[in-house]
Symmetry: C2
Subunit: 385 residues, 2 copies
């Protein structure tokens, strides 16, 4: 027997009370019972997205479906859009924009850099016909947090330009004020801060984004926002929804309301800080720059002389702890420790203990226990507040 | 306490052993464990689709996503396609084709009519540049079964024309020989004959369909077939898959292999015949024409003087038995009894008993027990074979 621990930034662990809903007998989706589930999910998501003025639409898809929907529903072929790219998911947005024939300008940064809102302001000033700005709030590939609040202040002045925010690993981990920050489209996925299995994605659509929708001519059907909106008026969905996942979402959103969004974000900040202090105390270097570190995932440089893929393999096979490796050019060079969603103090310390044990086994030179000591200090200090 | 019975053509009941897989702790999708799940699912689906030469791709979406993918991946804007429409799902294919700017010819029939392959042959002879023919094998809205084998014989002679078959409620209920019948694209959804919750859809892609893909220029990303194919070579998926549903599919496909496809189809034929004989013995009239009755769902005319919506409501609220009503112009005028997937003899008799009780309560004049007697005769006769 080996106990298993899932410490990745998605899929994330699912609380037992949510898992149990997944084993319930199937119900039909065109029933008053399921209408109530739809209603609860939309209301709960509005709370989580911090929006009253936007509609929240739910798709049966992964987060990528929501990303594609945001471009297909807001634009026409040839529209000028600015896509900020400082990691794998920003890059994906560029790819989708190209597929749909948008006139894409890519604002490209390194994976260890933060998107600079001043660059966006300069671009929009020079290209006022720009129809959309796309930013990833929390780059899962790099752990970098971009300042979408600042971007919101800039884009707000352009009446025909929508701000699209990929907050797939942001929602439920960091502050993301859809209304207050003027974010027109914000998206997340079920297997992240919402503490569910993968299979659902949600987007918010502001009045400005609906105006963009009205002039958009790109082809869409399964992800056509208006079809979802029309059916939401009757508390239902245009196509067969992922019934069991939405029943689970109803449950997990109740848990989130009980904890409260402020409490959830504070917990994530605390666990992220404990993780960062823990790995730094082992002499490891954090990957994300100090000015933009998110709460969902902590990427860490693998020390010289150690094979990062081997490190991940030993953690998983010998200790039962699954963390993520690096993606693309950082494969084998960084590790990514997830602390997104259903995570508590001892998940962080378990990961750090397993990391210490694995680093010892790989011959890395450090003071055993140092990481845990640093993490404990953070976890206790915060408790005293 | 009221026991609940789900007797709809989708979502369908999920076997307890599959439901229990849905409550298992989450695992990561980029692991050898999940690679094995992907491999098993694809192999099992190839068995169910009866194909060796086609690839089988799995999406996290409802069946409509697979429908959209079939058009977006095979065609260019302006391509001539022939869409057969004798029910709600044929109509949906027309809508998607229009959204994507295809030059659609609609071969429209009444909901109680079967698609006539001779009409397709005549159209192709007159329009040999036609790039695709779209047919719904099992029309869930009407219970009509179209002869896709005959259509396959016709389309086979047109080297640049692909045959797309919506078999969402066909697969696992009626014969559908992908390779032998020359079906280029066949699709199904998880919440049907595969006995799972909704959230997954599968398509087969023949070599001829891959040739169509190569020339297709319609925009697609989330449903881009090639992305799935490339990842299947590594037993994985391009985007985060619906992990729990695929683990469930692995389990339900094992159950299907144990029973065997011939056994599954024979069981569905038997249960459908018992249902038909049962309702006819009550003096009710079947909706689908005798020359095209499928095994997934039995639509029945509501007798004069009875409100079909009230009938469905009483069955559900008083007796705990959920069946489907009619759609569109047949709302309130027909009922649809599902027997697709995880169904046995006593599911059919339970539905018929509940139907008899409800008809009595609504004052319909018939001989109580007559429906059950007729169903029993079918169920026993078959057992003796």
């Amino acid at each position: 027997m080996q106990k298993k621990y899932l410490m990745t930034p998605g899929p994330t662990p699912v609380p037992p009370e949510v898992l149990l809903t997944q084993a319930r007998p199937m119900i039909h989706h065109r029933t008053p019972e399921f209408n109530a589930v739809v209603r609860n999910c939309v209301e709960g998501l509005k709370y989580v997205f911090q929006t009253e003025q936007s509609d929240v639409l739910l798709f049966c898809s992964s987060g990528t479906g929501a990303m594609e929907s945001s471009l297909a529903n807001c634009f026409c072929a040839g529209d000028e859009v600015l896509v900020c790219h400082n990691g794998k998911f920003g890059e994906r947005m560029v790819q989708i924009a190209v597929v749909y024939g948008l006139a894409v300008t890519v604002l490209e940064y390194g994976w260890q850099e933060v998107v600079d809102p001043a660059d966006i302001a300069a671009h929009l000033a020079a290209h006022p016909a720009t129809r959309g700005v796309v930013v990833t709030q929390s780059e899962t590939s790099s752990g970098v947090l971009n300042d979408v609040e600042a971007v919101g202040r800039i884009v707000k002045d352009y009446a025909d330009c929508v701000l699209i925010v990929d907050s797939i690993t942001g929602i439920g981990a960091v502050e993301c004020r859809t209304d207050a920050w003027g974010l027109d489209v914000v998206m997340t996925g079920s297997q992240k801060g919402l503490m569910l299995p993968p299979g659902l994605a949600a987007v918010t659509v502001s009045p400005k984004a609906w105006r963009a929708y009205e002039r958009s001519t790109l082809p869409k059907f399964y992800f056509d926002w208006k079809k979802y909106l029309k059916n939401l008026e009757k508390d239902t969905t245009p196509f067969t929804p992922a019934v069991s996942l939405m029943i689970g979402l109803d449950r997990s959103l109740k848990m989130m309301r009980e904890e409260g969004l402020d409490g959830i974000i504070a917990r994530h900040a605390r666990l992220a800080e404990a993780t960062r202090q823990g790995v730094e105390a082992l002499g490891l270097e954090l990957f994300a720059p100090v000015e933009g570190r998110g709460n969902a995932v902590t990427p860490v440089w693998v020390p010289d002389g150690i094979d990062g893929k081997e490190l991940v393999r030993i953690l998983k096979n010998r200790h039962g702890v699954t963390i993520a490796g690096g993606q693309d050019e950082y494969a084998g060079r960084i590790i990514r420790i997830g602390h997104l969603g259903y995570f508590g103090d001892f998940d962080i310390t378990t990961t750090l203990v397993a990391l210490e044990m694995t680093l010892s086994e790989l011959g890395y030179d450090f003071e055993p226990g140092a990481g845990i000591r640093a993490a404990e200090a953070v976890l206790m200090a915060e408790e005293e507040d």
